[in-house]
Symmetry: C2
Subunit: 339 residues, 2 copies
Amino acid sequence: MLKNKKVTAMDVARLAGVSQSSVSRAFSENSSISSKKKKLILEAAEQLGYQPNAIARGLITNQSRIIGIVMRNIQNPFYPEVLDKFYSTLAEKGYKVMFINSQNNEIQEDEVSHLIEYSVEGAIITDALLTSSTVQKFTRNGISVVLFNRYVNDSLSSAVVCDNFAAGKRIGHYLIEKGHENLAFISGPMNTSTTVDRKNGFREALAEHGISSFLTENGLYSYEGGFAAAEKLLKRDKRIDALFCANDISAFGAMDYLKKQGIRIPEDLSIVGFDNVAMSDWSSYELTTWHQPIDEMVNDSISLLLEHINGDIDAPEIQRVEGHLVERGSVKDRRKGFS
Amino acid sequence: MLKNKKVTAMDVARLAGVSQSSVSRAFSENSSISSKKKKLILEAAEQLGYQPNAIARGLITNQSRIIGIVMRNIQNPFYPEVLDKFYSTLAEKGYKVMFINSQNNEIQEDEVSHLIEYSVEGAIITDALLTSSTVQKFTRNGISVVLFNRYVNDSLSSAVVCDNFAAGKRIGHYLIEKGHENLAFISGPMNTSTTVDRKNGFREALAEHGISSFLTENGLYSYEGGFAAAEKLLKRDKRIDALFCANDISAFGAMDYLKKQGIRIPEDLSIVGFDNVAMSDWSSYELTTWHQPIDEMVNDSISLLLEHINGDIDAPEIQRVEGHLVERGSVKDRRKGFS
DNA sequence: TTTATTTTTGAATACGTATGCAAAAATTGA
DNA sequence: TCAATTTTTGCATACGTATTCAAAAATAAA
């Protein structure tokens, strides 16, 4: 409850001796207001502690200046970095962030309703998907959406993703070119486009070297999952000499399993991750990994979203961004003449 | 821009053959509306895809149903866990989250303005402080605030903190009781109440054992900082046999430095952290650490905030929550008869 | 059936702001 | 100085909803 009555533009108007509409103009850009009057108004506002009410403004302009960020897996270190970057870039552009922590692979109806209810101007959805009915709901309510790091092949939603297929393929080639022969894959959940594309690229690379199959275990994109997946894989086949993990945090789990088993990295077994989170550079891991260019992906996502919001583009589009390999200490060069 | 005209309660009213106020009543609890009419209205709303407008509602009720969360150090794994918990508990209570990523030790004027502008009902400020002028600004605008994990001794702001002094003291006793004699401390920024209290508690414990001083280096609450601080400490005094790090992530950095130097943990040097983030349990670290009860702290913070919001309490209060030690593998029992 | 009481409902209004429109004021040019 | 033109400003209004108040409708009791 208010201890003090809320200060409004009407109060400022009275003190400054002008109208409420003049006060509004003093706080707007591109408004016609004399500098003398503007100065008086701003001084009165300062004295009264006036703060324009974004809710009232949003009602009349239909511009909430709010972007919704729907995020999953906030405890995967990749996503705090993504959130950090999204926040700072949106703040630069004058947007506020409504944060929605999601739990499911597909954004839920109530999450959609919340975003609509608050008239967010756009939404970034990270690591989750939209059904066609939620796409329609957003569209009908004039809310632009961009998927981050995931996409759906239904031509309904814009997305910015790392080129996961090319990355998986490049990693496959890299490991084989470094002399590995018995490769395995630790995936994420198999219903995610990130895992499917990384695995397919990896498969294609191996096929090009005459390797028609490889073992896969689901590491659930988590430390514990990677740990368990490594254990399963090594029980299935002790000849495995390289692991490609579909994300870094499951790679860390796999590495810790290997270390616990006395299997030396990279002497006995090489491992590659995906994401290049800060921890990949920590000396306990020194993980060779695929760098996802978060800054570029975030910038592209926001540019795409703002183009949709401003009506500059209408048709959905998927932008693929290329990452690059970061070689650290977790891959051995097994070719003859190297050690 | 809207492709379709926004559906409002007026549209639903026309389709259902009732008034706009009846539509509003159908979507409210504790309103007088016949069940027959309510059913008709809800069906019409479903058919039209009507979504009540929270912005309009907020304007008239002066209840935005938004809580601001101002967070720093989102990339410290402690804070994503905190955010996760805050989000789910607030969502259960029907609140939306406006997220503000902060960079400074003290919340900034523009951050305060953003929260006021959007009429957030309350704000949780994690790992940052308020000046007395920002406290006044919040108060004048009817916004309740609770500090999380930090507090100011000015009696102006409510806070929920771990009892850092008691924890630091307990850790000091623990290390000494385990036979360590040359202890050092890796702090966070010295202007943070968390570091000051943890250090003071540690100091008191050591004083009670006749140890009047110990070396300190600032680990900046970061991995890199912990790594560098460990290096500096070990250069200053090679006899150090235990490190108390003011948070886990700087402990991980310190541990990686020690490993790189071939200093075995805990055989050669014991280390204790603070927070008990998930990585503390990873087999590469197995860090003995002080567990901060995030669930309890978050629940208490939200309870306290809601009591302020509802006017049930007015005076600021500081609630201290106790954590507990989690013993893993990074502390050696150095007493005679143990090995 | 009529009167009294209770419940439901719609009309009117307010919330605080932005903006269209026209009047007032200021400026410019003859 | 006056007329023409431009700029500034205030009035009125709308944005979409919740709620007060009073009328209408429904229900209960005589």
